[in-house]
């Protein structure tokens, strides 16, 4: 069952259309909301949390219309991209307070605050003022305050912003744990395809206020699986044999590339190597990254739009 339904969402700021009739669903798991700046990610998040009303269309989160009472937000977490922590306050006190404001009783709020800070690796530092924390620690507190009231669904806006490569890797690992071990569904809004690829189960790609593509990450990359075959000798003979078998290899010196291969293609390749007496050096499957998949698509859409508008 989907956690979030967006139906024909349109939102404009003056003459700028931030979202243009987008529809999608978000299923349990970790979902990436991917797009460049101005694609409509932040507007989408604000609509999900009921901070904006759509010009047309509707959003249903956990079965509640976002324009109704804010009560559904007891089950929603949110970590913004920008700074949002009071620097003079200890993390434990701040999280307990946020848990109370999110609907937890006072005692439970204090216990949950310590527990969640332990899970994000800040248990020892929980009574220190947050102004003394590093950027990575602050990002962890931002994540912790989004989880402290045990939400069903948490929205994380650019959770790796400002982190060094190690911090980024640790944060993505933490988000994966939250999604897989804690059972809290996550929506990551980001412009970084690498973050989505490493962390998410599915992705919604936004571009200029429209949905470019939605679906499971595995679906995108399986479609683009290729097989690299490197030979010591007999590359041309093998290519000819594969063509006779109905495949379309691309020959580049001593290297062959087969695109969109299936399980049967591996058997065909094995037999062709034997029949052509080619000497195999290396055989390796490879997949395109999300960047390889989407960058040409986005570029093509932009080009088509530019042509359509006569630019």
């Amino acid at each position: 069952m989907a956690l979030l339904h967006a139906r024909d969402l349109t939102k404009s700021y003056g003459s700028v259309r931030a979202l243009d009739g987008v529809s999608f669903e978000i299923e349990p798991g970790i979902t990436g909301l991917l797009g460049s700046n101005g694609a409509g990610k932040t507007t989408s998040l604000k609509l999900f949390m009921g901070l904006l009303d759509p010009d047309s269309g509707s959003v249903e989160v956990l079965g509640a219309d976002t324009r109704s009472s804010p009560e559904y937000r007891t089950r929603i977490g949110y970590a913004p991209e920008h700074d949002c922590l009071p620097l003079s306050v200890p993390a434990a006190e701040f999280l307990a307070y946020m848990a109370e404001v999110s609907g937890l009783p006072r005692t439970a709020a204090r216990l949950r605050a310590s527990d969640v800070l332990r899970h994000v690796g800040l248990f020892e530092e929980r009574y220190r003022a947050m102004g003394t924390y590093s950027t990575g620690m602050k990002q962890r507190v931002k994540l912790a305050q989004a989880l402290v009231h045990d939400p069903v669904l948490a929205f994380l806006d650019e959770p790796t912003a400002g982190l060094d490569p190690l911090g980024r890797r640790e944060m993505l690992e933490l988000i994966r744990r939250v999604g897989r071990e804690f059972g809290i569904s996550i929506v990551i809004s980001t412009h970084l395809m690498g973050d989505v690829e490493r962390t998410c189960d599915s992705v919604i790609v936004l571009d200029a206020g429209r949905v470019l593509r939605t679906g499971a990450i595995s679906g995108f990359v399986e479609e683009t699986e290729t097989l690299e075959v490197e030979l010591v000798e007999g590359a041309a003979e093998l290519a000819a044999e594969l063509e006779r078998q109905g495949l379309a290899p691309r020959l580049d010196g001593s290297r062959l590339t087969l695109e969109a291969v299936s399980g049967e293609d591996y058997d065909t390749l094995r037999d062709a190597i034997v029949d052509s007496s080619a000497v195999l050096y290396r055989l390796a499957p490879s997949r395109l990254s999300l960047a390889d998949v989407f960058t040409p698509v986005v570029a093509a859409v932009d080009e088509a739009e530019a042509e359509g508008s006569g630019v």
């Binding site: 804010p70 009560e71 913004p80 009071p86 307070y97 404001v101 999110s102 609907g103 937890l104 009783p105």
Partner: protein
């Protein structure tokens, strides 16, 4: 008996399975946080300095006057040698520390939330922007009202104890209690609403404090000039620009004092403050709702 090495077991993530509170409880949490901020509780010594100093400025004179009265009244040849100020007079004196308290401390309830970006977290919580600002307003109003009432309560208590018959004195003076409660609440509501509105206009505490003091001082100057140098209905209306004077007149009217020397009746000053406060409150709600929604 032998014991093995201690082991630490990680229970993993424990989902919360207890009940959830009502929206009133969430509002109460914000209100309680506002009170803690106002007194600097849970913060460093620096955060406690300004609020407690200003509270002391409003409170200590009452305590000192009571002590002086306690030492002088039994030995005084003439009982009129030393008289405690009236309740209305004390409000007139306490107006300065109360105004400073509101100008300097009230911005702490909104400016840091705005400067640090915390408002976006409130926006994602199961409350409305009005819940947030109303809870903050109620928090500072609680503190300001208590600060206004406490010295009056000290004076009232001492007057009762100092009377020859406390019981009959209470019977004759019971009406003072609702009067000083209403007068204190009036002063606190006006200062709270004004200072929180100016706080919502800036993320810097100092700017907000200066803006509140500017409204009070410039208004007093304009009102004073109108009252001293001109006559007629226009100057009378302009004299209401002095909020401290309008508050003092309202307080005196609440205590039933004679205001014939003033250009306008005390009831007019009181109604003017009620109307002004409502306008300021609506502006505060709209401004803060916009800030919370981002």
């Amino acid at each position: 008996m032998t014991t093995g090495p201690a082991e630490v077991f990680d229970l993993g993530y424990q989902p919360y399975e207890g009940g959830r509170t009502t929206r009133w409880s969430r509002r109460r949490a914000i209100w309680r946080d506002g009170i803690r901020i106002s007194f600097g509780l849970g913060r460093g010594a620096g955060a406690k300095f300004a609020p407690w100093l200003l509270i002391a400025l409003a409170l200590v004179p009452a305590a000192v006057l009571v002590v002086i009265s306690a030492f002088t009244s039994p030995t005084a040849a003439d009982p009129d040698d030393f008289e405690l100020p009236s309740y209305a007079e004390y409000y007139g004196f306490a107006m300065v520390p109360l105004g400073l308290f509101a100008a300097i401390v009230a911005p702490l309830l909104i400016c840091p939330d705005r400067r640090d970006g915390v408002l976006s977290l409130y926006a994602a919580r199961p409350i409305t922007p009005t819940d947030y600002v109303a809870s903050r307003w109620a928090a500072f109003l609680t503190v300001a009202t208590a600060t206004a009432w406490l010295p009056e309560a000290i004076l009232f208590t001492w007057n009762g104890l100092d009377a020859e018959s406390t019981g009959s004195w209470l019977g004759d003076n019971w009406d003072v209690v609702p009067r000083f409660l209403l007068a204190g609440a009036t002063v606190a509501v006006v200062f709270t609403t004004l200072s929180l509105l100016t706080a919502s206009l800036s993320s810097r505490r100092a700017y907000a404090a200066v803006a509140t003091l500017a409204v009070l001082f410039v208004g007093s100057a304009v009102g004073g000039i109108a009252e001293e140098n001109f006559t007629g209905p226009v100057s009378d209306a302009v004299s209401l620009a002095s909020l401290p004077q309008a508050l003092e007149d309202s307080v005196r009217w609440i205590f039933g004092e004679d205001l014939s020397e003033r250009p306008l009746p005390g009831s007019v000053s009181f109604l003017w403050l009620v109307g002004l406060t409502l306008v300021l409150a609506v502006a505060l709600q709209r401004r803060t709702a916009g800030l919370v929604r981002g």
